[in-house]
C-alpha cells in the first residue's frame, strides 16, 4: 500500500468534497427555511455555469464583472422560481412540491443545452490548471482554490444563520403560522432562501465548470449534493461541511484504491451507497436536528 498515494487522494478528496458541499449548501438553505428538499439544485448549478459562460465568452465581460453578474442574476432566478412555481404549492402535500422541483430540474437540463448547443463550453475564470506540490503531495490547484472558496461560503452561511435575518429564517422553518402571527413576512423569507440557494449553486456551477467545462453533466452534481445533504442531515450547515468532506474523500479513495482492483466505475457508486446507507441506518443524517417531542 502506497501511503503517499492515499494521502494525496485524501487531500484532493477533501477539496473536491468541499466543492460538492457548496451545491448541497443551497439545498440546506432552502430546506432550513421552507422544509422543501430542492431537487432542482443540480440544474440550477448548471444554469449558473451557463450564465457565467454567456457573460464571459458570449458577451466578453471581464471575470470580475461576469462572476458577480452571474451570482446576482441567479439570485433573482432563484427568487423567480419560488415566486412563480413554489408559492402556488402552499398548502399542497410536500411530496407534490418536491416533484415540482424535480420537474424543474429535468426541464432546465433539457432547455439550456438545447438553447446553447450540447457541446462542452470552456469556462476560463483565470484559475491556473497546473498542479501544485505541497510537501511532495500532488494537489490539483483548481480544486484547492475551489474547495477554499467553498469553505469560505459555507462558513459565511453558518454566520448568516445566527444573524438577525438568519434567526427569522429559522423561525419560518420551525412554524410558518406562528411566524405570520408575529409579523414575519414568511413568503419573503422563503424567496430569499431560494435566491441564496441559487447563489450557492451558481458558485459551485462556476467552480466546477471551470475545471470540467459547462454542459448538461454539471447537473449531475445533484446526486453528490443529495448524498451530502442526506448524510449531513438536510438542515445542518455544519453537517454539510463534514458530510461533504466524507463524500469527497470516500469518492477519491474509491477511484484511486478500489478502482484498480475491480476494474473501475466505483466513483459514481459511492454517492448512491452513501444515500442508501444513511437512509437505512441513520435517516436523520449525522447532524439532522432532533425532533423535539415534548409539548
Amino acid at each position: 500500500m502506497d501511503w503517499m498515494l492515499i494521502a494525496e487522494l485524501a487531500v484532493n478528496g477533501v477539496f473536491v468534497g468541499l466543492m460538492y458541499a457548496l451545491v448541497s449548501l443551497g439545498m440546506v438553505l432552502i430546506y432550513k427555511t421552507s422544509g422543501i428538499a430542492n431537487l432542482a439544485q443540480g440544474a440550477i448549478a448548471m444554469t449558473g455555469g451557463y450564465v457565467a459562460w454567456v457573460l464571459l465568452a458570449g458577451l466578453g465581460a471581464p471575470v470580475w464583472l461576469a462572476i458577480p453578474g452571474a451570482l446576482v442574476g441567479m439570485f433573482a432566478f432563484g427568487m423567480l422560481i419560488e415566486r412563480v412555481a413554489l408559492r402556488r404549492m402552499i398548502g399542497q402535500p410536500v411530496i407534490m412540491t418536491i416533484m415540482l422541483t424535480l420537474g424543474i430540474e429535468i426541464m432546465l437540463r433539457g432547455l439550456l443545452p438545447g438553447v446553447f448547443g450540447a457541446s462542452v463550453k470552456r469556462l476560463d475564470i483565470g484559475i491556473p490548471q497546473a498542479p501544485l506540490f505541497v510537501a511532495d503531495l500532488l494537489i490539483n490547484r483548481a480544486t484547492l482554490i475551489g474547495g477554499g472558496i467553498s469553505l469560505v461560503l459555507i462558513v459565511a452561511s453558518l454566520i448568516f444563520f445566527n444573524s438577525r435575518f438568519g434567526v427569522v429564517m429559522r423561525a419560518v422553518a420551525d412554524d410558518q403560522t406562528a411566524s405570520w402571527s408575529v409579523g414575519i413576512r414568511v413568503e419573503r423569507a422563503i424567496a430569499v432562501a431560494w435566491g441564496l440557494g441559487a447563489v450557492a449553486a451558481t458558485a459551485a456551477g462556476i467552480l466546477w465548470g471551470s475545471t470540467q467545462g459547462v454542459d448538461w453533466s454539471l447537473s449531475l452534481l445533484l446526486i453528490k449534493a443529495l448524498a451530502i445533504a442526506i448524510l449531513g442531515g438536510l438542515d445542518s450547515i455544519g453537517g454539510v461541511l463534514i458530510a461533504g468532506v466524507i463524500v469527497g474523500v470516500a469518492e477519491s479513495l474509491a477511484t484511486g484504491v478500489v478502482d484498480p482492483l475491480v476494474g473501475g466505475g466505483t466513483r459514481d457508486i459511492v454517492a448512491a451507497v452513501i444515500i442508501l446507507a444513511t437512509l437505512l441506518f441513520k435517516p436523520h443524517g449525522l447532524f439532522g436536528r432532533e425532533h423535539i417531542e415534548r409539548v
Partner: protein
C-alpha cells in the same frame, strides 16, 4: 369608539363549513375583554379572523366587517396587521421549538429596525418573565408548558402591540401557573395600556381579570356584558364557572330544579 370592532362577521372553512355566524364584539382602548365558550364554539376562529390567520387553514370571512382603530382590516395581510398593532398568541403556544428563547424574541422583532430598541425590548421581556431569562440558552422546545406560554406572550409583546389576543393561555397549566400568567396579563393591560382579548374555557380565571366578556356557542354570541354581570348570570355559572371549580352539586341541583319549575 372601540379600538377593535367586529360587526356581524361570518367565517367559513373550505367555503362550506360555517364556524362563526353573525358575531359582533368590541374591545375598547385599554380594555380587557374575555371571550368564553366550550370546545368547538368558534373562539379560535374569531381570533384568526382578526389576525388574518384563517388563510393557511382555508378559512375566510364571508360577511361582515372588522375595524381596528377605525379602519377596515379585512384586506390587510397578517404581517401588516401586526404592524398596525394586532398580535395573536396562538392556541397551544407554538413557540419556535428549535430556537432559544432569546432567538424567539428576536424573530418577532422584524418590524423594528433599530437594534438598540430590540435589545431594550428583550431586556424588558426578561424582566417581566424572569423564568425565561434563566432558560435563555436552552431550546424553547424543551421548556416547560408554563415557560413556553410565557415565551409565547413575550414573543407577541416584542411586536409592541396595541391589542394582545390570547388563545387559551391557561391550557394544560397547573393552577398556580395560571394565576401567575393571569397576573402578568393584568399587569400588561394596566401598566402598559395594551388592550387584551382573552379567549378562555377557564371562565373563572378569565372573569377574575376581565372587565367585560362575551359568551360564544355554536359560532354565535349568546350574551355579553361586564364581568360582574356575567359572573352572576346563572347560565354562565352553570355552564362555565362550574366546570373548572369544585362543582357544588347541591347548587347545581338547586339551579336545575328552579329552571324546570320556571319552565
Amino acid at each position: 369608539m372601540a379600538l377593535l370592532s367586529l360587526n356581524n362577521i361570518e367565517v367559513a372553512y373550505d367555503q362550506v363549513f360555517l364556524a362563526v355566524r353573525g358575531v359582533s364584539i368590541e374591545v375598547p382602548e385599554r380594555g380587557l375583554v374575555a371571550l368564553l365558550g366550550a370546545n368547538g364554539a368558534g373562539k379560535s376562529t374569531v381570533l384568526k379572523s382578526i389576525s388574518g390567520l384563517l388563510k393557511p387553514e382555508r378559512g375566510a370571512v364571508n360577511r361582515g366587517e372588522i375595524t381596528f382603530d377605525g379602519r377596515s382590516i379585512l384586506a390587510i395581510d397578517p404581517p401588516d396587521r401586526v404592524r398596525l398593532g394586532i398580535v395573536h398568541v396562538l392556541e397551544g403556544r407554538r413557540v419556535f421549538g428549535h430556537l432559544t428563547p432569546r432567538e424567539n424574541l428576536i424573530a418577532a422583532a422584524t418590524m423594528h429596525r433599530d437594534r438598540g430598541h430590540v435589545s431594550a425590548l428583550i431586556d424588558r421581556m426578561f424582566q417581566t418573565f424572569p423564568r425565561l431569562a434563566e432558560r435563555a440558552k436552552a431550546k424553547a422546545g424543551y421548556l416547560s408548558g408554563g415557560e413556553q406560554q410565557m415565551l409565547a406572550i413575550a414573543r407577541a409583546l416584542m411586536t409592541e402591540p396595541r391589542l394582545l389576543m390570547l388563545d387559551e393561555p391557561s391550557l394544560g397549566l397547573a393552577p398556580f401557573l395560571v394565576d401567575e400568567i393571569f397576573d402578568i396579563i393584568r399587569a400588561i393591560n394596566e401598566r402598559d395600556g395594551v388592550a387584551v382579548l382573552l379567549v378562555e374555557q377557564n371562565a373563572t380565571a378569565a372573569l377574575e381579570i376581565a372587565h367585560s366578556g362575551y359568551l360564544i356557542e355554536n359560532g354565535r354570541i349568546l350574551m355579553g356584558g361586564t364581568a360582574d354581570v356575567l359572573r352572576s348570570n346563572p347560565d354562565v355559572a352553570d355552564a362555565y364557572l362550574g366546570g373548572h371549580q369544585k362543582v357544588d352539586y347541591h347548587a347545581v341541583k338547586h339551579y336545575r330544579r328552579r329552571k324546570r319549575w320556571l319552565a
